[in-house]
């Protein structure tokens, strides 16, 4: 065998080639796994964030990602594409796990939420479409009609791929044309004949820049990047300018590190971080939160809501990576505390967020809050020992010998609401008189939580309490419903006007909205149906 090998020296030998190929392959695979330049450069604290971003937003978002990496050492891998292409990619791709989606039109993030592909969304900035031509071009364009001149070569974003295309379509579809159709149909046929549809806005800008077409439609922010500033002339058309769209960021359901993703998302939408960069790139930014790596929120919460809100708070804090300092107390005490804090400054302890036991306790301090939403309501009922037949109407409470427990009106909401409820028929006044008669028991408690235990232990024959307080012992007591209209307490959630974390709190609203079942299972009636409707509108609707 060896002799044979030697005899054939100088020509190609199968064994030698085979072994050599095998060795080279192994070496290359080893290099691939261990020698990646990506690893060498990436000495990072956490796993990189994977962001899918609209190509038109490349310059600002790359700068933000760079700053974030410099500040926190976490890399952000960005993949660019047309907004709608990215959305379809997420829908189709069931294997990779991107964390965030940044699109040039908020309808895409909304669609993502509707299709359960995304969880939280946040708005970042506004941009509007405009026409561009080369600086050395002599074309005059003043109206849409000018733009769609015969034989003009146009480059337009594909409405099924890029947000810019959709924005142009939406804007022009509303404008009727002389031939009976609309301007979009005219533009579409003109572009199909002489021009081109492109999948991203940058490609449109490039077409104009290298002179492949006469004019194109891009975002006003696209042209503000240095690559285009010197070569392109911007023409604002009123028909297009009205179609401004919201740049929007969404945390994707596929994310395996939602807390880290949310942190970067907060960074992007922070007024003194990401939004600063967007503004410097010519975008009109939204009001954003103040940046904090781990924001702290003060939350004043009426004690009655504790059971329903606690699980939601826990989930929210864990997912967002924020701290919520919650203070549960009677609402009279909470509003009193607010009044003593001057300037309504959150850093001095003024709440960012307030969930009152009843609207009554919000109206007191309404000037300091905004965006109030009725989250839930809870019925007020009479609680009787199991099998008791002594009481069927409020008047029965006045019968001699009937022992009653009610809330103290100045100390707790249930007391104030009981007073309001019983005042209608003059029962309350009579009950107060009965309290003074010898041998009668009408006991006043300082908190709603203390009412039901009195019934359970047999100290009283009836108590007036929240249905939610009855729920844990529902099988051991009977309840009698009031027939009058004031028998519910309505819990409004609102944000302090001075809060520095309004965007974050908006996401808390959404979290509350998603977790309606937590309220229902605790005996509350969940009222909050649509977080996109503002508080005042909802009141009118009611």
């Amino acid at each position: 065998m060896l002799d044979l090998l030697r005899q054939r020296r100088g020509t190609l030998n199968l064994q030698v080639v085979f072994v050599a190929a095998l060795l080279v392959s192994i070496a290359l695979i080893g290099l691939l796994v261990f020698g990646s330049p990506r690893r060498k450069t990436g000495r990072q604290a956490g796993r990189p964030i994977q962001l899918l971003a609209a190509a038109g937003l490349r310059e600002p978002i790359e700068e933000i990602a760079r700053r974030y990496e410099a500040e926190y050492g976490i890399k952000v891998d960005i993949q660019f594409g047309g907004s709608n292409s990215l959305l379809s990619q997420i829908q189709v791709d069931r294997i990779s796990t991107p964390d965030l989606l940044l699109v040039a039109d908020a309808t895409y993030t909304q669609q993502a939420v509707e299709k359960n592909l995304a969880k939280e969304t946040m708005s970042v900035a506004v941009q509007r479409p405009c026409v561009i031509v080369r600086k050395d071009a002599t074309i005059e364009i003043r109206t849409i009609e000018d733009l769609i001149a015969p034989r003009r070569r146009l480059s337009i974003g594909n409405p099924d791929q890029a947000a810019i295309g959709k924005a142009v379509r939406d804007a022009l579809q509303r404008i009727p044309a002389a031939d009976g159709g609309n301007q979009w149909l005219r533009l579409e046929s003109a572009v199909s004949q002489y021009g081109v549809f492109k999948p991203t806005v940058n490609e449109v800008a490039n077409d104009v820049r290298i002179g492949a077409v006469d004019a194109g439609i891009v975002w006003n922010a696209t042209v503000s990047s240095p690559a285009y500033k010197d070569t392109l002339r911007v023409i604002e058309l009123p028909e297009l300018a009205s179609q401004s769209e919201m740049v929007s960021l969404a945390v994707l359901a596929s994310s395996q590190q939602p807390t880290d993703a949310l942190k970067f998302a907060r960074y992007v939408s922070a007024r003194d971080r990401g939004l600063e960069v967007f503004r410097s790139h010519g975008l009109e930014v939204q009001e954003g939160d103040e940046w904090a790596a781990r924001p702290e929120i003060n939350f004043f919460c009426g004690a009655v809501n504790r059971r329903s809100i606690e699980p939601i708070l826990e989930k929210f804090q864990e997912r967002e990576g924020v701290i919520v300092n919650t203070i549960y107390d009677g609402c009279g005490i909470l509003t009193g505390r607010m009044k003593t804090i001057q300037n309504q400054d959150p850093s001095l302890g003024f709440p960012d967020l307030y969930l009152a036991c009843d609207r009554y306790y919000l109206d007191n301090v309404k000037d300091w809050f905004q965006e109030d939403v009725d989250v839930s309501d809870i019925e007020i009922v009479m609680v009787l020992p199991k099998g008791s037949t002594l009481i069927s109407t409020p008047q029965d409470l006045l019968k001699p010998g009937i022992r009653v427990a009610i809330g103290q009106p100045d100390q707790c909401t249930i007391g104030a609401l009981t007073k309001r409820l019983l005042d209608r028929d003059g029962v309350y006044e009579k009950l107060m008189k009965k309290q003074l008669e010898p041998g009668e028991t009408v006991v006043e408690k300082s908190s709603s939580a203390l009412l039901v235990p009195d019934v359970l232990t047999g100290h009283v024959d009836a108590a007036i309490a929240y249905l939610s307080d009855v729920m844990p012992n529902r099988s051991k007591v009977d309840i009698v419903h009031f027939e009058s209209g004031d028998n519910v307490a309505v819990q409004p959630l609102s944000v302090a006007r001075n809060s520095r974390h309004k965007q974050l709190l908006r996401r808390f609203y959404e979290a509350v909205w998603r977790e309606g079942s937590s309220f229902e299972s605790k005996g509350f009636h969940f009222r909050y149906c649509d977080p996109t409707v503002s508080g005042s509108e909802r009141h009118v609707a009611k």
């Binding site: 030998n13 691939l32 330049p37 891998d77 791709d93 294997i95």
Partner: protein
């Protein structure tokens, strides 16, 4: 013959006819050359346009900067691209993935090519036609089909570590380039006279020995061509990669995807610079093949 031999008129007629033929031949050759040249000019023009574009861009930038020469050298699009860690990664991944795909292609092409060339069996034509599928199929469909394939067991089990990951790049490149390598190897074995092999067998070799010691060494040139072709094919692979491996920067980004990504984000200079790098690499690889094959041919001639 005799009618114009000796007669002066006859000789003249013969000469005019001969010169007419020479002229016709010249016209034929020149016109064919011109037609060929048109195409060559197109290739050359494209290359020159790329070079010119990059040059123009770097010149424009250099003029605006205070240090003309320093800027021309360090700020031209190719230098900028080469400094970009994303491009560095993409070059690095391209080199490794293409080499692996090419080695894999040849490893499968040699046995398959040999079987198709030497061993008659029923349905050989069908198999032969089947092998054309990756070549004629639109690249996007190859990617899509791979993606769908990995939704079924047993492929499904490995999907997480392959689809949209680096192995997908190599797999997609191999899936297409292997077909080209098989074509080349089959042609090579077809051209090798089976006689030597038969003689070896008659002298007591097994079929494997005859293949390993006689036919395989003779296929050296074809082997090199197949490898180069597969390598170049893998470098140019784009469609299947986009769908099957994704275009994630610093992960599944190879040179062809870099061009696409740079275009996509509006960086034409970067895209052209990377294209020039690819063209340069291709030319170098082609030259190496030519040089190697010439050398082998010379060796053969001297023997």
């Amino acid at each position: 013959m005799s009618e114009w031999s000796g007669s002066k008129r006859g000789i003249e007629r013969y000469e005019t006819r001969a010169s007419r033929i020479t002229l016709a031949n010249r016209v034929f050759i020149v016109s064919f050359m011109l037609i060929g040249l048109t195409y060559l000019m197109l290739i050359f023009g494209m290359l020159m346009a790329d070079v010119l574009y990059v040059f123009e861009q770097s010149l424009g930038k250099a003029r605006n900067s205070s240090h003309f020469w320093a800027s021309l050298i360090s700020a031209n699009p190719i230098a900028v691209s080469l400094r970009d860690p994303k491009i560095q990664y993409s070059i690095w991944l391209s080199m490794i993935s293409c080499t692996l795909a090419a080695i894999g292609s040849v490893a499968f092409a040699v046995p398959l090519g040999y079987v198709l060339s030497r061993i008659p069996f029923r349905g050989r034509n069908l198999v032969d036609a089947f092998l054309d599928i990756p070549i004629v199929l639109p690249p996007l469909i190859v990617g899509l089909s791979l993606l769908i394939l990995f939704q079924f067991a047993p492929f499904k089990w490995a999907a997480r570590s392959i689809v949209y990951q680096v192995p997908a790049v190599i797999l997609a490149q191999w899936a297409v380039s292997c077909a080209y390598a098989v074509r080349t190897m089959k042609m090579t074995f077809d051209q090798i006279n089976p006689r030597c092999e038969q003689v070896a067998i008659s002298l007591g070799c097994t079929r494997f020995q005859a293949f390993a010691w006689v036919t395989f060494p003779e296929a050296k040139l074809g082997l090199l061509t197949a490898f180069t072709l597969a390598w170049a094919r893998s470098l140019g692979e784009f469609g299947p990669l986009l769908i099957f491996a994704g275009a994630t920067r610093m992960k599944t980004e190879v040179l062809s995807t870099s061009v696409f990504l740079e275009m996509n984000v509006g960086n034409i200079e970067g895209a052209v610079a990377v294209s020039l790098l690819m063209i340069f690499t291709s030319i170098v690889v082609l030259m190496i093949t030519r040089w190697a094959s010439n050398r082998t041919a010379d060796e053969k001639a001297s023997v």
